[in-house]
């Protein structure tokens, strides 16, 4: 695993996120199990369902890489200790870069 993230309790709402294998772009799992690049469509899971969703993601090696749990609220907003990291991951660097400088 590239990404070792903090452990979350079973009843903590969590989303499944990963990198798209072919491009490296960040993706999040939607409620229907599909992958989206739109973080607002992320689904929150808990307990056994969350574990099952992550296990499912881990079988999709050619499609996504290194799936892991990210802490979210019940409605799917990024929260918890890694809020800054996950927000940067979702929205991009906090600084202008390239020709935008």
């Amino acid at each position: 695993m590239t990404s070792v993230r903090p452990k979350l309790k079973p009843d903590t709402p969590k989303a499944v996120t990963a990198w798209e294998t072919a491009t490296g772009q960040n993706v999040w799992m939607a409620a229907d199990g599909s992958w989206t690049q739109d973080v607002s469509k992320v689904a929150a899971f808990t307990g056994d369902e969350a574990e099952a969703r992550l296990a499912d993601a881990q079988t999709q090696e050619g499609i996504v890489t290194d799936p892991y749990f990210m802490e979210v609220t019940e409605t799917g907003e990024i929260t918890g200790r890694e809020t800054l990291r996950e927000t940067i991951r979702a929205k991009g660097p906090t600084v202008s870069y390239g020709e935008g400088v």
């Binding site: 990404s3 294998t21 072919a22 490296g24 772009q25 999709q60 050619g62 940067i88 600084v95 390239g98």
Partner: protein, 552 residues
Amino acid sequence: MYRYDEFDARIVSERVSQFRGQVKRRMAGTLLEDEFKPLRLQNGVYLQLHAYMLRVAIPYGQLSGRQLRQLAIVARDYDRNYGHFTTRQNIQFNWVALKDIPDVLAKLAEVEMHAIQTSGNCIRNVTSDHYAGATKDELMDPRPWCEIIRQWSTFHPEFAFLPRKFKIAVTAAEHDRAAIRVHDIGLHIRKRGDVVGFEVHVGGGQGRTPHLATLVNEFVPEAQLLDYLEAIMRVYNRFGRRDNKYKARIKILVSELGEAEFRRLVEEEYAAQRENEKIDLPQAEIDRIHAYFAPPELAAKPDKSSAFEALKAEDTEFARWARINLHPHKTPGYTSITVSLKPIGGLAGDATDAQMMTVAHLAETYAYDDIRVSHAQNLVLPHVALDDLPDVYRELKAAGLHTANESLITDMIVCPGLDYCNLANARSIPVGQAVQEVFADPDYQEDIGRLHINISGCINACGHHHVGHIGILGVDKKGEEFYQITFGGRADEKAAIGDIAGPGLKADDVPGALKRVVDTYRELRADKGELFIETLARLGHDPFKEALYAAG
């Protein structure tokens, strides 16, 4: 510069084909990430916070115009129109798609470049003085020896799976601009009579356990250098720890064994090596490699240039740039130019594709087709005639590459931090920019003089914070970014690891706190010629700690 022979070209091209097949299998899911990861790392491919990152090797930081132009094309066609020059004198592309990387590597191979051994537990890019072959203060050009070490270490079968990554730096100047004391092996070229040899320092490094290298041998004659390096590598490969990633670097081995025992083991291995399989470098081979680095044929010129002097007299901005960004050349009438990649509010080490094209053009037109990347994340044109400086400056200015701050307080080393890096705990770039802003006034910067501020976004120390005169380390405290300040580090011939000043500061408090520290230095310095690091050594850290934590 070194040019590929048919073997080099074939090896690099075959590696591209091999990696193309591996990427194809990865995308098909038949190669799992755990299997693919060591393969991609061997080809310089990381998976970072947002995307894959490709690190391309720039041996000892030297590029031709054609190579830099090709890097610009890669930035334009496969990334987001920019690249990031690193403290290992390499370049990184932050947004490249895995599916495109084989094509990128094929493009690089066209100009004798690759990404091999830019990651993984092997011997990485050998770094050197960015003014090598040009500077007045060097004993000789260290690049031929960097190239010899590069050839020896590339695909060396014994050293492909070391306990951890391994970094070598070489200098031949009294003023160490290659930071050799914080490398796994640091080599300083010396002469005894007519014999060229190497002072060998081993076990330096930064990261979570910073160490300065130990002087293991004062003089290894040049013909025996590879034997001696081989002996060090064997001792490390055999005794270096593999049970704990954080204790696997050679610095830990040297520290745990002690200097005497480490030296004894190396000498024992060296003696066996000399007895059984010595690899004395034939003089003809040493000469063959040196021939690639013959100095450019610089036309004789007077010491002073009227065109240069005239523009200095009429353009104060140019005069300032010339005072700060030029380095004395060994040939009268010439100079080395630092092309600063540290504009105020910019991203340290970043250059757009258009800027890379400009520097490539300048190198080909005015600078004998020679470009260097410095470990401080700037570019250098090592051989420029003083007569050409007005024209070069005008083009640099048009491209936004004329910042006059080489080695000044705004010329910071800054790692990508949490804005890009999967390992970082805190952001580096915005903090660096905010610090730059408070010191942005050119007169103020020049009055402060040489002062290195280095920033890392985690304890891995990619931003070299341990050896900054002022170091800034980003840490995470329960989800909030804090910044720990160190004083007194330096990476040169008087290398030292900085001391932590005290509790970490919030990001917003860092610029003001550093301004108080610097203003305290300006009050306390013996005279304007005394550098911050010298005042700090003379007075101790207390007055500066007091200023750091004074109410803002």
